[in-house]
């Protein structure tokens, strides 16, 4: 397994790989004879198969990938920088190469790097520009004419960066540093029993699974028909990682808590199953419950390349089906039995998840959803053992203020902390170091805390007292720190 997760395993057909160009990432399925479009360039991944992850390729003029041994930096020796730009007069005529010249170079098969060099040599103002301006110029041109792509193995770091940059809405704007904070504050580690409730396309789930490395168990709470795991499937986890991944519908949480969930009695055999109306109600169709199925379902949720694969696979299966038209009758019978078996499996899984929750001894709870956090917290904390961490992410601060207040009223939690992280990226270059000129305005907010034994017999007045105590909260937090 270690080898499988190492940085340098080989790129295989069917993998989910991440393309990288500069700071831009894109997750794609590795398939033969499928054209990929990335950063306005179309190419085939065929030649990449068999190479190790981390390899950098150049796109050839016929749209194939060719490994590039060394990423040469544009030689800084050619630079002869002016000290300032007082002599530069912008007349729009500084570049002697015309568009046609450049096109001709490209058609001749001249590589991007050489084109950039030619552009520099033909710029009348380049030498007069300051070093700073020269670098800007080179970068801009490099980006335009050089087509260098690195294929990397997906990981939490890469996928969370990619989602935040490309599709922040899919992960409710959960920034990567905030996700890292969640994993730390939530004490996520191998062997834990974690409850995860997220609507981040499965990214948080994936991060938790990666951190746990296949040890321990995870119960994913999901709204609606089934869990969304589009991002989870991008990680390319080994099958074994899914053995201890369970899911439980949010819509059954209250009945589970009240003891009215009536599925404890699992039918012994699939064929005997006669599901009561109550039990089937609200259950989703098969596509959405098994792990395999949810990956298909969830892929529809993402705009990434990956979903095209799945569609194709589905089509292939349909084609096969067509060949067996004549066996329809027999098949139907089998289909019914198959359906029953799957239903039974689904029931079994649901029962297992319910049993895990019912133990009320989870080691942690992570929430990162589009829903109002308060009702989620108030219910899901019931399943967490005392003295365990919980972390709630919300894109907005206001709901967490309310959640904070409700949790104080409820009791059973200490060390409540509402926080936000500021992320600054730096340019570090000789004589030109400074924070980057744009930064992310917000990475969302976290409310974290630690569970303690909730005295159910606690009087309302003591809860009120806890509420009152809230005010000098800086002082109180210190006391709580001592308590736990």
């Amino acid at each position: 397994m270690a080898a499988e997760r190492g940085l340098s395993s080989r790129i295989c057909e069917g993998d989910c790989a991440v393309l990288k160009r500069g700071d831009v990432f894109k997750a794609v399925p590795v398939l033969r004879q499928r054209k990929i479009v990335f950063e306005k360039q179309g190419f085939y991944l065929d030649n990449a198969i068999g190479h190790v992850y981390g390899t950098t390729f150049e796109v050839t003029s016929d749209g194939n990938l060719q490994p590039k041994r060394q990423v040469e930096e544009t030689t800084t020796e050619t630079k002869e920088a002016g000290t300032d730009n007082r002599n530069i007069v912008d007349d729009g005529k500084s570049q002697k190469l015309t568009h046609d010249d450049i096109k001709a170079l490209k058609d001749k098969g001249i590589k991007g790097q050489e084109i950039v060099q030619q552009l520099i040599e033909n710029s009348t103002t380049f030498r007069d520009k300051t070093e700073f301006a020269q670098d800007k110029y080179i970068k801009k041109k490099k980006k335009k004419y050089e087509a260098v792509i690195t294929i990397v193995k997906p990981s939490t770091r890469i996928l969370s960066t990619m989602y935040y940059a490309r599709e922040p809405g899919k992960i409710i704007h959960l920034r990567y540093d905030t996700l890292a904070q969640m994993l730390t504050l939530g004490n996520v580690r191998a062997g834990n029993k974690m409850i995860v409730m997220e609507t981040c396309a499965g990214l948080v789930l994936g991060a938790v699974m990666e951190r746990m490395g296949g040890y321990g168990s995870i119960i994913q709470m999901y709204p609606g028909g089934g869990p969304i795991r589009a991002a989870t499937s991008c990680f390319g986890f080994p099958k074994a990682f899914f053995n201890n991944l369970h899911e439980f519908p949010l819509s059954k949480v209250d009945s589970l808590l009240c003891g009215t969930l009536s599925m404890e009695t699992l039918p012994s055999e699939p064929e005997d199953t006669a599901l009561t109306e109550e039990e089937t109600n609200g259950l989703v169709d098969e596509k959405q419950t098994s792990v395999q199925g949810t990956e298909e379902e969830s892929s529809a949720e993402t705009a990434m390349e990956i979903n095209q694969t799945e569609e194709q696979e589905t089509m292939d299966i349909n084609a096969e089906d067509a060949e067996f038209k004549e066996n329809k009758e027999r098949e139907n019978k089998e289909n019914v039995r198959e359906k029953q078996r799957k239903q039974w499996e689904r029931m079994k899984k649901l029962t297992e998840a319910a049993a895990l929750l019912r133990e009320k001894n989870a080691d942690g709870l992570l929430v990162a959803s589009k829903f109002h956090p308060t009702p989620l917290l108030l219910s899901l904390l019931e399943f967490v053992a005392p003295s365990r961490p919980f972390v709630v992410y919300c894109q907005y601060k206001e709901p967490l203020l309310e959640c904070y207040t409700k949790l104080r009223e409820r009791g059973g939690v200490v060390n409540l902390k509402l926080s936000e992280t500021w992320l600054r990226s730096y340019q570090v270059l000789p004589d030109r170091s400074h924070p980057k000129l744009t930064m992310s305005g917000g990475g969302g907010y976290l409310l974290s805390g630690i569970t303690v034994v909730l005295d159910k017999g606690k009087s309302d007045s003591s809860n009120l007292e806890a509420l009152k105590m809230e005010e000098p909260s800086s002082k109180r937090c210190k006391v709580q720190d001592l308590c736990c």
Partner: protein
Amino acid sequence: MDDRCVTMGLGKTGTGSGSLSHALIRTVAPTGHLYTVEFHQQRAEKAKEEFREHGVEHLVTVTNQDVCKNGFGVSDIADAVFLDIPSPWEAIGHAKSALKAEGGRICSFSPCIEQVQRTCLAMEEYGFTEINTLEILLRVYNVRTISLQIPDLGKAAEDNSSAGFDSSNPSNQGSPGTNLQQGTVQFKSGVPLREMVGHTGYLTFATKSLF
């Protein structure tokens, strides 16, 4: 953050786009004066033209020279000097002579930390005190009405007593939200922009002391 109430002169290098010059003129008017030095001839001309157009030419003197080599063209006249040039450390000595003999303040704007480091060294060398580097970031919020869904936890009708979110109580004390329609909570939020200006530059302030 400037000590002048009425200034007799204020030196500024790097006239630039002119927006800061206008802000400074506005501040020193009507009894003060702004001396500004711009080494780029085209820009110096354009600035002069603009000041004329805006009717503030009597409040400002634009000089076209290299402040690092030739200084401000004035001495012992300024209450404050503002520098926005690539190598401010080369102009600290000139800035000191432009400032009044009895003292004044200097502020240098630089995007890179290395410029700040050299500038601070030069300021110390020339005897400036209270050298202080700051960075100020403006964070703007959009005011939005946000709706968050209340999750369906399958709460049974008879089960209203259980610990939970009492969504049917609109005057919920302390709750920032209001239930507009069943199943959602609405509230106002100040939402940071997705991208903000992460850095413009460092501001280094210092005092020219009496002695």
